[in-house]
């Protein structure tokens, strides 16, 4: 078979420079392949590499030997072995992660994300799809549309892939029967329109035999095309659509080689920019014009979506990493409350109310997620009630950030609408998210500016507000010491307020229990109350077990720098249990109290508390004096 899509060696041999000149102008298409375990995905990719001469003799020799040893195709070449990379996978015969492959035809260069097909790996497919322009959904002609097919299609659509190829594979095993192909295409069309995929291209192929891959096959005279590669080469994708949108450049890095030069480096998320263009810096809203587009190869007269450049501005305006430089007349919005779709990617389930890092373009903020409005069953597409999201769970949530972020809906702009969530303690990437829209309540509930501010209130009381945050095990001595501290402050004419854990649970937080989520909400409310009180100029003292580092850090973040003093009442578990003032440890040990900190619920000790009190080495009186010294000293 001669393949017109691949260059004949003759051209390379005769006129290499002509070949290279042509090759240099090729565009790039990134696509993903998705299929179930036995749909022949790896075989198809192996075939694409093989046909495009991306496989060399030494690799081929290894492949032939491997095929005979562990292959599943008898004496014939098992293309799948080419792409199943890691040792563990080769033994299991499955692909367990996202792998990237490369090949080139006469018109285009391709990057393929090879994503696994089995149940537990939604995470990998979403990852692979996030950078793809097109998805190839593989179906085994003998099996038709399966649950997995629906899942893959849903995920591809969710992540915003506009071009879908339905590759009905293994046509050789159904005698290239047109009726089989038509039946599958029809079934797929019905399902696709249900989830909003309006357009797809169905192609009958055999990855193993090579039918309709690079050229139309004689085995399927009833199929008029296009062949797979032909379609991949011609599908319209990429920058044109992004360039037509308004200009946005998320600032990555401020370039200051000397006092005379201040440039803003970043990659254009959309639109185009020229020197002289009016721009607006977000979130500040300041306007200026672009002075130069600076590169090592000289200044440019224009830059377009996708390019990495450095801009200088006509005026000295504040602009740093995380800001977005945008077209002055069409700036994006900023908001701090959103609805979004989340794909959960960590073994540890989502915790509603916990603060995570949210990274969107070059912005990093602290964000909390509410319990899902609903979870989506990726197989049936039903909306289910859910309290959390587990690994590979997909749900629609509301989330709020601790300060406004500049954004666009994911459907309009992937760069300003796609984000990841990062666990603050383990630093793991726990979720991928896509913003839908900002919530009106954030837009319309403005801060009411009051004439008397917190400094004026504090000055009247002749003190500096502070929050003394006691943390430690139950029975460690928090309440005792906190009480002493407040008595001493009172004697010194300081205005204070002690928020005690047990007391707050009788009123403000009477609706909360002791699950992880409820404990987090408990601390969040106490933090908000403490913040209001410190705005009133008070020295606030709190005594809560507050077992999780993340929540203590959340409260720290609510207050002005330096006003949050974390006081770790460090009493060993054995000692606290021995004292057992309220008899709670005994109950917990007897199994009568669930989720008891130190027994069946963890306590995360502070790593760098402002004050640490070792109760085995000092009396409560001494501890209280030490704390007062640190506060007022």
């Amino acid at each position: 078979m001669t393949d017109p899509v691949y260059v004949t060696d003759a051209l390379i041999a005769e006129d290499i420079d002509a070949y290279l000149a042509g090759h240099e102008k090729k565009s790039l298409l990134r696509f993903i392949t998705c299929g179930s375990v036995d749909d022949g995905k790896s075989t198809l990719i192996g075939r694409l590499l093989y046909d495009s001469k991306m496989i060399f003799e030494d690799q081929l020799a290894a492949l032939e030997a491997d095929s005979k040893r562990v292959g599943t195709q008898g004496q014939e070449i098992d293309f799948a072995l080419l792409v199943d990379g890691l040792a563990a996978e080769r033994e299991q015969g499955i692909t367990i992660d996202v792998a990237y492959r490369f090949f080139t035809t006469e018109k285009r260069k391709f990057i393929v994300a090879d994503t696994p097909g089995h149940e537990q790996y939604t995470r990998n497919m979403v990852t692979g799809a996030s950078t793809a322009d097109l998805a190839v959904i593989l179906i085994d002609a003998r099996k038709g549309v399966l649950t997995q097919t629906r899942r893959h299609s849903f995920l591809a659509h969710l992540i915003g892939i506009k071009h879908i190829i339905l590759a009905v594979n293994k046509m050789d095993l159904v005698d290239y029967d047109k009726a089989v192909f038509d039946r599958i295409t029809l079934a797929y069309r019905a399902f696709a329109s249900e989830i909003g995929i309006t357009n797809f291209t169905a192609i009958p192929i055999s990855g193993f035999k090579g039918d309709n891959i690079t050229a139309l096959s004689d085995n399927t005279p009833w199929f008029k095309g296009p062949a797979l590669i032909e379609h991949l080469e011609n599908v319209e994708v990429g920058s044109a659509a992004d360039e037509a949108k308004p200009f946005r450049l998320p600032v990555q890095w401020v370039n200051r080689p000397n006092l005379d030069f201040r440039g803003f480096s970043g990659q254009l998320a959309s639109g185009r920019v020229r020197p002289g263009d009016a721009v607006r810096i977000l979130p500040s809203g300041k306007t200026t014009t672009v002075d130069r587009i600076v590169t090592l190869d000289g200044d440019l007269d224009q830059a377009v979506a996708g390019q990495s450049v450095t801009l200088t501005l006509a005026d000295e305006v504040d602009c740093s990493r995380g800001d977005v430089i945008a077209a002055a007349d069409a700036p994006p919005e900023a908001a701090d409350q959103f609805e979004a779709t989340l794909v959960w990617m960590a073994d540890e389930a989502m915790i509603a109310g916990r603060a995570y890092w949210l990274k969107l373009a070059t912005q990093s903020v602290s964000a909390t997620v509410q319990a899902p409005k609903y979870e989506i069953n990726v197989n049936t597409l039903d909306h289910l009630a859910a309290k959390t999201l587990e690994l590979n769970g997909i749900g629609v949530v509301e989330l709020s950030t601790d300060k406004p972020i500049t954004f666009e809906a994911y459907a309009d702009n992937r760069t300003l609408g796609g984000f990841i969530l990062i666990d603050k303690l383990t630093n793991a990437t726990v979720a991928a998210g896509m913003l839908h829209f900002s919530l009106r309540r954030a837009q319309n509930v403005h801060w009411q500016a009051t004439d008397i501010d917190r400094d004026m209130r504090a000055n009247l009381k002749n003190q500096r507000p502070a929050l003394l945050w006691f943390t430690g095990l139950s029975g460690s001595g928090k309440s005792t010491i906190a009480n002493l501290v407040e008595k001493k402050l009172h004697r010194m004419n300081r205005h204070s307020f002690l928020l005690d854990g047990d007391n707050v649970r009788h009123g403000l937080n009477r609706d909360l229990g002791f699950t992880e989520a409820d404990r987090i909400e408990n601390i969040r409310r106490v933090g908000e109350v403490a913040k209001l009180m410190s705005d009133a100029g008070l020295i606030v003292i709190t005594a809560f077990i507050s077992p999780f580092r993340a929540e203590r850090e959340m409260v720290r973040g609510m207050l002005p720098e330096g006003e949050f003093l974390e006081i770790f009442i460090d009493t060993p578990l054995a000692e606290a249990e021995k004292r057992d003032v309220k008899g709670l440890y005994k109950k917990a040990r007897a199994g009568q109290l669930k989720n008891f900190t130190g027994i069946d619920s963890p306590y995360e000790a502070p790593e760098n508390p402002e004050i640490r009190i070792d109760t085995t080495a000092m009396t409560p009186e001494e501890a209280a004096d030490l704390i007062i010294d640190r506060l007022l000293g």
Binding site: L28, L86, V126, V304
Partner: protein, 301 residues
């Protein structure tokens, strides 16, 4: 006129974006510089990413003392030209024990490169190291992340890598952990060559064919680059027109017979060749099939 970016434009923009993104969270980054063609492209991209500033990190060459002479020459020239600090590190233990590729086999790579790299990173406290690895080089690299996390002891756990979505990289790490960042992950060998041609990037002359003294050993053509090469009885260096597709320690790097003296001819030969780039490398084959994956878990780049 269509302003559609070519594949090289898009790869370049992506690599520059990655390098700048590192600067947001890194406290002490470094660029590993091996003097090969991939390093040359990576260095060039770094200069573009931060221009008019010089790249805000030093170059680190983990030396084995067994590189080709021509590599040392280009290394020093490029460091001077880029205005970057060049740190050369040689594992003192390997030096003291006289570890060499002729007598010590796999131990040579392990001590000079794997151990040497770990020592150099620890010594200077680098928390992010740029490397020039590409996903098309080898099977286990096809699954490598762009930001690849290493434990405090430099180990790589393929099951614990973070998912990378869109162009969002999570570069947060705990104390002691470090990150290897591969900004040219998505480039292929042909892209590298084409970019070198387009941007006129200086590379080691060994990539071009020239008459060089060689001996044939275990199916490889080795170049006798200096008088440390122990010739076996009856072995006489023969002058052949050869070039190298990859560069490493000269006793471990096989040459190919070639007449390709220009960049176009080299690319032409590469396109028409029937063996892969790493075929001349001994290192992939020690320890059988999963050898590169095993080396990475041990801390090799």
């Amino acid at each position: 006129m269509s302003s559609e970016l070519t594949h090289l434009d898009r790869l370049e923009a992506e690599s520059i974006h990655i390098m700048r993104e590192v600067m947001a969270d890194a406290t002490k980054p470094v660029m590993l510089y091996s003097v090969g063609k991939d390093s040359a492209v990576m260095l060039h991209l770094a200069r573009k990413a931060f221009y008019p500033s010089p790249p805000p990190f030093p170059l680190l060459h983990v030396d084995t003392t067994w590189k080709f002479q021509a590599m040392y020459e280009l290394r020093d020239r490029m460091a001077a030209e880029s205005g970057m600090e060049l740190i050369v590190y040689q594992n003192p233990e390997a030096k003291a024990r006289g570890i060499n590729p002729f007598d010590h086999g796999p131990l040579h790579t392990d001590m000079w490169k794997t151990e040497g790299l770990k020592q150099a990173l620890d010594l200077h406290g680098f928390d992010v190291a740029f490397g020039g690895a590409r996903r098309d080089e080898e099977k286990s690299r096809a699954k490598e992340r762009i930001f690849s996390f290493r434990t405090a002891s430099h180990g790589w756990d393929p099951k614990k890598q973070r998912p990378e979505l869109w162009n969002l990289y999570n570069a947060r790490k705990a104390k002691g952990e470090s990150i290897r960042v591969f900004p040219i992950s998505n480039w292929t060998e042909l892209d590298i060559w084409q970019y070198i041609a387009r941007e006129n990037i200086p590379i080691v002359p060994l990539y071009f064919a020239a008459p060089r003294p060689t001996v044939e050993r275990d199916g490889l053509l080795l170049m006798v680059d200096d008088d440390r090469f122990p010739l076996k009885d009856g072995e006489v260096p023969v002058e052949r027109s050869v070039r190298f597709r990859t560069l490493g320690c000269y006793p471990l790097t096989g040459a190919v017979e070639s007449e390709a003296r220009t960049l176009s001819e080299v690319i032409q030969e590469m396109l028409l060749t029937t063996t892969s780039e790493r075929q001349g490398r001994i290192i992939d084959k020690d320890g059988g099939d999963a050898s590169m994956e095993k080396k990475k878990q041990e801390g090799y780049f």
